[in-house]
Amino acid sequence: MHPNALRRAGAAVLTLALGAAAGCSSVDQVKLHLPLRPKLPLRGNERIALAPFILVKQADEVKDKRLANIDVQAEFHRFLKKQLEKKTKFDVIETPPDVKLPTQNLGDLARAQEFWAAVGTQTSAELIVSGSLEFRVEDRSGYKTEEYQSPIDGRTYYRQVYVEQTGYVFDIVFLVLDGRTGEKLLQDEFKDFRQTGSKQRDELSGLFENLFSLENQILNTFVPREREAERYIFTD
């Protein structure tokens, strides 16, 4: 069964179960659009410099040929710049190519106040964005316990089934730094796992699927966003 259909069936079962629990009330589910405040209190027209990110790679990922042709840093920068230019009023710039990160350790990078203040002076940016990026292929396949009803005696048994689940993980740690003082203003993590479909997908589209699902959260660091939520209302 398609995962969406499965989810819908699950929601229907849940609604029925809740209905039974609440004495068969007449209830409807409604969708609300709720606002999300930006995580940083900003004016909205600041000059933002996009600095390089640390690329995190596990030992086995270095050898992974599937990721060899993807420039995660460049793709992420391009995506972030485009989104910020399109959906905010910030003045977005890239740091000059000669700006090299002073360390590959995220904690030290967040504390490199002098370095960030110098980048801020060089670019006249009020905010600087950096952090770390990790993109990997993750195999979560394995045996899982499943309940099933025997057609012979009608009893419920448990069986082990092999579930194939491979997908792409994008783990982004965002550092937002003050361009004047070099101080860290915010550190936040965004992580997404996208399962690959039955047909073979290429890694680049996997990466963008991850990024599009994280887009709202990433932008919400800087600007207000909206999210959809479901609530129950009684109809009589």
């Binding site: 409807d28 405040r37 940083l40 209190p41 600041e46 003050d178 129950y232 109809t235 009589d236």
Partner: protein, 121 residues
């Protein structure tokens, strides 16, 4: 244009009211509130649910619906009060509990801003 829209809305409300013959009853207000809520008219729905809650203060459903309508209209502090009232009246109602849990999750995130303000003037 604006006048036309107002006229159409009033016509729509008047038309809808004819099928709700007992406006003094809380259940009628809930029914009509739900009718307009489904059309996205949350402020009107909030008004109707508030009327229902006033007419029947011990009706957890009216308070729950009023809370949802307030939430949809962006009045989160009052929505919190109404969810609490609904839960006080019917603490074991799973729908209200789920609504309250989801609202609490949203409201906690909404009220906190995690980052520091930048030093820029």
């Amino acid at each position: 244009m604006k006048l036309n829209r107002t006229f159409l809305f009033l016509l729509f409300v008047a038309g809808a009211c004819t099928s709700y013959p007992h406006p003094d009853k809380a259940s009628t207000q809930i029914e009509f509130g739900t009718y307009v809520a489904k059309k996205g008219l949350w402020r009107e729905a909030a008004f109707r649910y508030e009327q229902a809650a006033q007419r029947s203060p011990n009706d957890a459903r009216a308070h729950n619906n009023f809370a949802v309508a307030l939430e949809a209209s962006g009045d989160f502090a009052r929505a919190l009060d109404e969810y609490k009232k609904a839960l006080e009246i019917e603490p074991n109602n799973n729908y209200i509990r789920r609504n309250y849990a989801r609202f609490a999750e949203f409201y906690t995130a909404y009220t906190k801003t995690t980052g520091k303000p930048s030093g820029a003037p």
